[in-house]
């Protein structure tokens, strides 16, 4: 929009006309010391915990420590221009960020300001970043699936809408890759996604944005970025910002998926802020409330019932439940899940997807350790057909793991043991999946069915993935109707079973791979 000078002066005139003069009383304090983004303010005897405080130069801070004679404040953003003796004002407000549909497709910082150069965000709604999680009465149990599009996860560790499923693993084990595939797979499902990047390199964040754009997944996604170069305070609040944006959709009776990549770095940022505020350090130098830091965040991911949605929208939306599914990511050091932050988050979440570097390095990607990964509530939400067909997969893999260790010592094995090992090898191979190629329910079902019914046993181990690709192509062109039906309902009937059986048999006879 171009404005000419006379229009601009009209605009200003109007603003001045509507400008109301008031001499309001406010409380004021003075800056006593400034260090590393932490400011100590004298006075402000009635500041609230978490209140926004206004500094000179349009800078804001958040009150974190309320002491007898001073208030400890973290500055949000640049703090170089603040000096001793500056006046600080109370605003009487808790930190708020913009929320709404207009944020979809945008990249914002931890305060909700756009950083993608696409102009201002057209939304009038805001929401405080810290909110109390929905109460017990408002909740509904998890019974609808979120398809991540990854065979190994959807078949063995299903995630439901409103669930909190942890992705945990060492560095470079494909944690982010799972999250990105999950976002790409939500295209067209109506699930809105929020990706919160905490303490990552700017280049990694740019890479994620580019990949999402390439796969047409930015349209339903908000990215909240607090990169490694931003202050610890911004990295500490970024997850709460993203959560408020996701809660907006949940409270409208829609479904949303939020990814926190990763909470380890958020805990580091919080530790830094706490130590600079001189709060007493505890285990691993974290302050006493790191557990609460993550539990209050993850409790906000939930499914709420139709009555609550109706109440929150003042009756505008009826008979719809809302959900916010969270996939927090935690990075471990040397596979140690018993460190402080990993144990905390494991105990808060409804299950974990455990990624292992030796699996990753031996080419099993996604590097999911099926034995240590669990989903405590997702089973009730799993798509019926996947549940039916995936059950065998877990068993096959478990038996294979047991036998494989034992078989290293025994030279000649009996027939059934040898068969089980061969099946295990093929299923392990089948669970591999490339990045950026999430699968539909129908494709997954065909693959799992082929493994369950023993079709794979006739395929050489190193040809399994080629076989799968050819089979999918064949099914999509020759059995479009069947595939569509599976995708639409997700049911598994005898009829579907028969059709699949016939289809794969014909494929095996007529095609090579």
């Amino acid at each position: 929009m171009q404005l000419n000078p006379s229009e601009i002066s009209d605009l200003i005139k109007k603003k001045i006309e509507n400008f109301e003069l008031s001499s309001q009383a406010h409380t004021e304090g003075t800056v006593v010391s400034v260090s590393d983004g932490i400011v100590r303010v004298h006075g402000l005897s009635d500041a609230m915990q978490g209140e926004m405080l206004e500094f000179p130069g349009n800078t804001f801070g958040m009150a974190l420590n309320l002491e007898r004679d001073s208030v400890g404040v973290v500055i949000l953003g640049a703090y170089q221009h603040i000096s001793e003796g500056d006046t600080v004002k109370c605003t009487g407000r808790i930190l708020e960020v913009p929320v709404g549909e207009a944020l979809l497709g945008r990249v914002v910082d931890a305060l909700g300001n756009p950083i993608d150069g696409k102009g201002a965000i057209e939304t009038t709604e805001t929401s405080p970043i810290e909110k109390i999680a929905p109460g017990v009465i408002a909740r509904q149990s998890v019974d609808q699936p979120v398809q991540l599009g990854l065979k190994s996860i959807d078949a063995m560790i299903p995630v439901g809408r409103g669930q909190r499923e942890l992705i945990i693993g060492d560095r470079q084990t494909g944690k982010t890759a799972i999250a990105i595939d999950a976002i790409i797979n939500q295209k067209g499902t109506g699930i809105k996604c929020i990706y919160v990047a905490i303490g990552q390199k700017r280049s990694s964040i740019a890479n994620v944005v580019r990949k999402l754009e390439e796969h047409g997944a930015m349209g339903h996604t908000i990215i909240v970025a607090a990169s490694a170069s931003e202050s610890a305070a911004m990295q500490f609040i970024a997850p709460y910002t993203g959560c408020s944006m996701g809660e907006f959709f949940r409270d409208q009776g829609e479904d949303a998926l939020i990814i926190y990549d990763d909470l380890t770095k958020q805990a580091w940022a919080y530790r830094q802020v706490s130590l600079l505020l001189r709060r007493p350090p505890g285990r691993e130098a974290y302050p006493g409330d790191v557990f609460y830091l993550h539990s209050r965040l993850l409790e906000r991911a939930s499914r709420i019932n139709a009555a609550e949605v109706e109440r929150l929208t003042n009756g505008r939306v009826k008979n719809k439940t809302g959900s916010l599914t969270a996939l927090p990511i935690i990075e471990t050091q040397g596979g140690d899940v018993s460190a402080f932050v990993p144990t905390n988050v494991i105990s808060i979440t409804d299950g974990q997807i455990f990624l292992e570097s030796n699996l990753f390095n031996s080419g099993i990607r996604p590097a999911v350790n099926a034995g240590l990964s669990v989903s405590r509530v997702g089973g009730a939400a799993q798509t019926k057909i996947i549940k039916k067909l995936g059950g065998g997969t877990r068993l096959d893999l478990a038996q294979y793991r047991e036998l494989a260790a034992f078989a290293q010592f025994a030279s000649d094995l009996d027939e059934s043991t040898r068969k089980q090992i061969e099946r295990g090898q093929r299923v392990t191979e089948l669970m591999k999946q490339n990045q950026y190629s999430p699968m539909s329910v129908a494709e997954m079902s065909v693959s799992l069915f082929a493994a369950n019914e023993g079709f794979l046993d006739e395929v050489e181990v190193n040809k399994v993935l080629a076989f799968e690709a050819a089979l999918h192509l064949y099914m999509k062109s020759e059995y479009t109707d069947l595939m569509d039906r599976i995708n639409a309902t997700g049911d598994f009937s005898n009829e579907i079973k028969q059709e699949m059986q016939v289809a794969i048999e014909t494929f095996m006879k007529t095609h090579s791979w």
Binding site: F19, A25, H26, D46
Partner: protein, 177 residues
């Protein structure tokens, strides 16, 4: 500054309690003011922090200066501060004592910054409405400040009531941003 207040609070409270017991609040207020003035003297300050000077000598000197102005209890107080090496707290102790004193008397101090001299009538009006608003008796201290351009700015403790032209211009600047 805030840490100094925390350290000074127990001393100020102790002195104030004693002053109330012996019904000598005004007297203590004057004595503390005097001691604080002495302690903020440049030469005394440098003596106190000079490690080469014997503490007892400095103490003797300070007591000597205060001789005619403070009573026996105040002398003991000075000795205590010397022993605890808390002499630098004296100004904070004084200001805390003063705020305890006004709290005790049910009034508060308010600085009224004004661009032009106020008439007695206007001041009376102001202090009456302030007393109503804050629910306390008011001791007004008028300060002339041309930079306000017009109007008044009232400062009572942490509370600021800005009715100055400068403040309104600042508000306008913010809405136009």
């Amino acid at each position: 500054m805030s840490e100094l207040a925390t350290l000074a609070r127990p001393y100020a409270q102790a002195v104030f309690k004693r002053a109330v017991e012996t019904d000598s609040i005004e007297k203590w207020s004057e004595q503390l003011f005097f001691i604080s003035e002495v302690m903020s003297d440049h030469e005394i300050k440098s003596l106190v922090i000079n490690p080469k000077v014997n503490i007892d000598k400095t103490l003797g000197l300070v007591l000597d200066i205060c001789q005619d102005y403070v009573d026996q209890e105040a002398r003991t107080f000075i000795k205590l501060l010397f022993e605890n090496k808390r002499l630098s707290l004296m100004p904070s102790i004084l200001s805390l004592f003063e705020s305890l004193k006004s709290e005790h008397g049910g009034y508060i101090h308010a600085d009224v910054l004004t661009a032009y001299d106020l008439s007695v009538e206007a001041l009376d009006n102001l202090s009456n409405s302030l007393a109503l608003a804050l629910g306390k008796k008011i001791h007004i201290n008028v300060i002339l400040d041309k930079s306000l351009i017009g109007g008044v700015l009232i400062r009572a403790g942490d509370i600021i009531i800005d009715g100055s032209i400068r403040g309104q211009l600042q508000q306008m600047q913010k809405t136009l941003q």
